[in-house]
Amino acid sequence: MENKENINKYGEINLVHRMTVIKRIIHWTFFLAIINNIITGFYIAYPFLFFGKTPTQSDSLSTGIVNSGETNQAFIMTWMRDFHFIGAVLIDVIFIVWLYLAFFSWKEPLYKSFLPFGDKLEEAWKMIKHYFTLKDKPKTGRYQDPLNAFVFTIFHLLILLQMLTGFQMYVASFTGTSAVGAWWPWLMHFSTDWTLFIFGGLTGVTIAHLFIMWLIIIFIAYHIYIEVWRSVMWKEGDILIPFGGYKYIRNKSETQ
């Protein structure tokens, strides 16, 4: 009796599987790696000396605790760069896996919801209209909606740019060879030297790397907001997807 009332009120509730375990692991590793790289990247670009030792801070108790003492005990920049590189390696691996899954995922390949295929452009436009009119909610389907697919792709392209500009800065300290052989710096030069011409030298590449980070931060803000907004407005548990992998499908919507 009660159940029926609920069905009348909220519509019939079904489950849809959206993220596999692999994808959820990827999502949260990506999250941690990007947050890590934003913080350490800020430090590398402009060493905020909250942790570090400055001539005036070296004797102060509060800031000297983190690293006080001799130069050889500090090495804060080394740690920051180390963690930045570790995060970068994670991001690189994840990007490649994402690229693979975008086409060959059994569960939900991204290309199925990507813009140039079928009437996806119209669907994406409908979603934008829905954001601003709160009417005509597009039907929740098996795959993610085209607008999100498009935004995620843009985001991954930004990540790719970060990878390439990052490698260009990384290879700058190589002198023609490396511990694993000369192919490694050659590969990095081969794949990333064009950034020097696009962004105007190594300094330009550095600044581009810094600026693209801001675009990624903006994406993070948008991403969190829109997922919370969907959870609130649609009442389909969108925010649960990266945790449990499932969301609900309701055949009724308040905004219809």
Binding site: Y46, N67, T71, G176, G200, G201, T206, W214
Partner: protein, 420 residues
Amino acid sequence: MDNDNHSCDNNCKEKKPAFKWDPLRFISKNPDEVLKKVDKRLDKLEKEYFKNTKEKENNLPNIFDIYGVSRRDFLKWSAFLTSTLMLPYIFKPRIARAANILTRTPFIWLDMADCMGNTEAFIRNANPTPAEIIINYVSVNYMESIMAPAGYQAEARRTETIKKDKGKYILVVEGAIPTGMDGKFLTIGAKGDTGIKIVKETAKNAGITIAIGNCAAYGGIPAASPNPTNAVGLSSVTNRSVINIPACPANPVNVVGTLVEYILTGKAPQLDNIGRPLWAYSGRLHDNCYRRGHFEAGEYVRHWGDAGAKKEYCLYMMGCKGPFTWNNCTTAEYNQDTSFPMRAGHGCIGCSEPVFWDRMTPFEKPNADAKIIIPGVEATADEFGVALLGAAGVGIAAHAIYTGIKKKNETKKSSSKKED
């Protein structure tokens, strides 16, 4: 190194060149063959430029006596140059011979649009090293700043050298070449020839063409934005291969090293992708800097003359462009091998990189404080990024408020409908 060469006699063929950037590797893979060829070339040049053995042997001592440079000083210097050139020790006497020959090699030094800073760096020295002395005593056939002839005579000297020593003379060009208005921004000499014409004429028959200083190599300051004279580097106006020795001014060691190598082999050294000799420009300043430890330790100079500056902390936050610059200042130092910018307490300004006047500024602020090049935006990457993020935040907040109000209105409507 010396011992290596002796033990090499038996199984030389198995040995591979020890250095990737061994500048002489173009000659032969067999070290013995390399030495033979170099010796042969040196013998030939010595016969050509010196009348007899006495003249050959007294040449350098005569020059160095004037400056009070002893034989020992010269030997130390030739050992230094050998190691700077990344050559084995066995080349040391050959380098000394090459330096001797260099003083007699016909030589043309052209000055284009520049401040003559490189000339000044070479000829005005309180305690010149052998490198600077040799540069001063090369058989200069044409160099505006130090030659005795003037006007038509000077021009005649140049054309005569081009004709007489075709394919043998060393051409050093200093300064950018303006190409706007057919190069009329720069006219030189009694006939008022344009710089671009003179350079093309002279470079055509040169044995080796060297662009010295950032202006000649990449355009430098004359080519800085907006570049009204349309100035370019030497390699853009001649189809000869040009050896770029950038920096502002170029280090005499790098110039003499390149010239000595030319004397030894008759060829240009191995160059990197922007035409600089690899033996001099393969190391990044940041990686070879003696303050690198402080960089890694997070110890930075915050203001000029603060406690960190006194302790020689890293100049990264004072805008040092060492991480973006390839040169050998940290090893083959400036000012008679005594100092380089970071040792003097100022950051590198990246003067050996192309377009440094535009790309490396502001010189005394971290690179992150440089303005981004997006039309209509006058801000650093961080300022613009924060502005964009703020705009996005305002948009998000506006959308959230809009959603809330609209939803409230709708629920009111629907609840009022129900009441009806």
